[in-house]
Amino acid sequence: MSTNKGFCRKYLLQNKSFIFTVFLLTLIFLSSIFPAFSGLQAADIKLPEVEYKSYKLDNGLELLVFSDHSIPSLRFSIYYNVGSIDENAGETGISHFLEHIMFLGTKNLAEGKLDDLISSVGGQLNAATSFDYTYYYYQLPSSKLELAMALESDRMHNLKFKPAEINREREVIKQERRMRTENDVFALGFEKIKAAAFADSYLEHNVIGWRKDINQISASELKNYYQQYYAPNNALIVVSGDVDFEQAKKLFKKYYADYQPAEIPRKDFKLKTQTAEKTKKVYLDTDLSYALQFYQVPPANSRETAALEIFLQIFAAKENSRLSENLQKKEGLIIDSGGFIYPLRTDSFALIYFIPAAQNLLEKAQLEFDRQLEEIFTAGISQQEFENVKTQYQKSLIFSQKDINSAASTAALNKLRFDEANLIQHKINYINQLSREDIIKAAKKYLQSSRRTKGYILPQKEGELK
């Protein structure tokens, strides 16, 4: 026994690397229990950059490939850098109208055949138009990438513009407008109040467009718009899922390299800074009243936008926000509230809304809303309130990246808007650097009353009496 003890002591003393290893393991163990031990006060949330490969053609069209081979399926998307903000007066809704025309067939493929082909391989396809982009996507078995590449190549260049078919589709679009806007009190009020808030700017109209414009957009205007904006240098192709980059690149070159770039018309997208508060009342067929406050905010990649998003969470958007705690739970003045920023490549808008508990409480609720805003501007936000919202907000950004298709679509939009595919990762990093003072500073700058349009949706009867 004594020999063994002596051996151990001798071994331990002589073997410095063993001692060092034990010391290191102890250190790692303690660091894991007490983060401060490792020198970190509070662990910052971080998101690794999403990995992708890209290839750009001479004509400006770029391909992004996000590979994940876990299931034999892929998503093919094409994004065009055009949306309702690019439209001119008299042609509002044309981006969305064109999205519909993209399903009416090409010079090579009859109407309806596109859907048949995709269904026949067990795939799905759809499209959407937004304020600043339009996109088309396919979900397909991974062996069908070439089909999507070929179909979109055809649609980029060979679209058909037949007046009879366009007129038929016009009725479909008008019906869509009736369903989603005209027969929805909040959507209709939103449309009218936003138009007043951003009159004579690219934000005046919504994506669907004004009814009078939908009625008069012609086949030649649609064709002209298509030729102007559906060019390779105004698009981005994204393939995510079970895809091999080299194979995708080969197909991409085969189907898109021959197309010529075009000169893309761009307006001046700077909003004129509002200097005086505006008020707009809209009388509609409703029993409830709504209060909508619109503000001008900077583009989505601005650091101030991140600060404003956190502020809106604290002030209006969360369940235990200031508005919810004080105006709803304590005072019983409102039944709901919320706030958000619409992220765009240009100057954009923020909306904070509340619904008063009764019509006669609207004025009092508005006064209390203003008082709460003033109080938070003066007294600021607590450290705990700030940390909670910051963490929740970053978590929501991370959860929006939960699978390869979500990560790819976020990266694609940020690439399209700002040429910064990993914007979300950078955003998480600079949120870590934000202070409480930064949040209040941004809120005071952009949410001051002189930059606001107060809008009210009110029951029609009252309007008629007036």
Binding site: P72, L117, V121, A150, D154
Partner: protein, 54 residues
Amino acid sequence: MKKLNRILLITLLVFILTAAAVQAAEVNFSEEYFNKLAAKQIKFPKLKFLIISF
């Protein structure tokens, strides 16, 4: 002179052949073309999984 002619002839030939190859690479879309692409066999690779037994 003869040599120069030969070089010019070869250059011209290379040019014509390249142009023809580029021409051949162009895709002529048609309903049949898309049908063929859709009709190609759909491959489903085997999903990888692990069985652990105790």
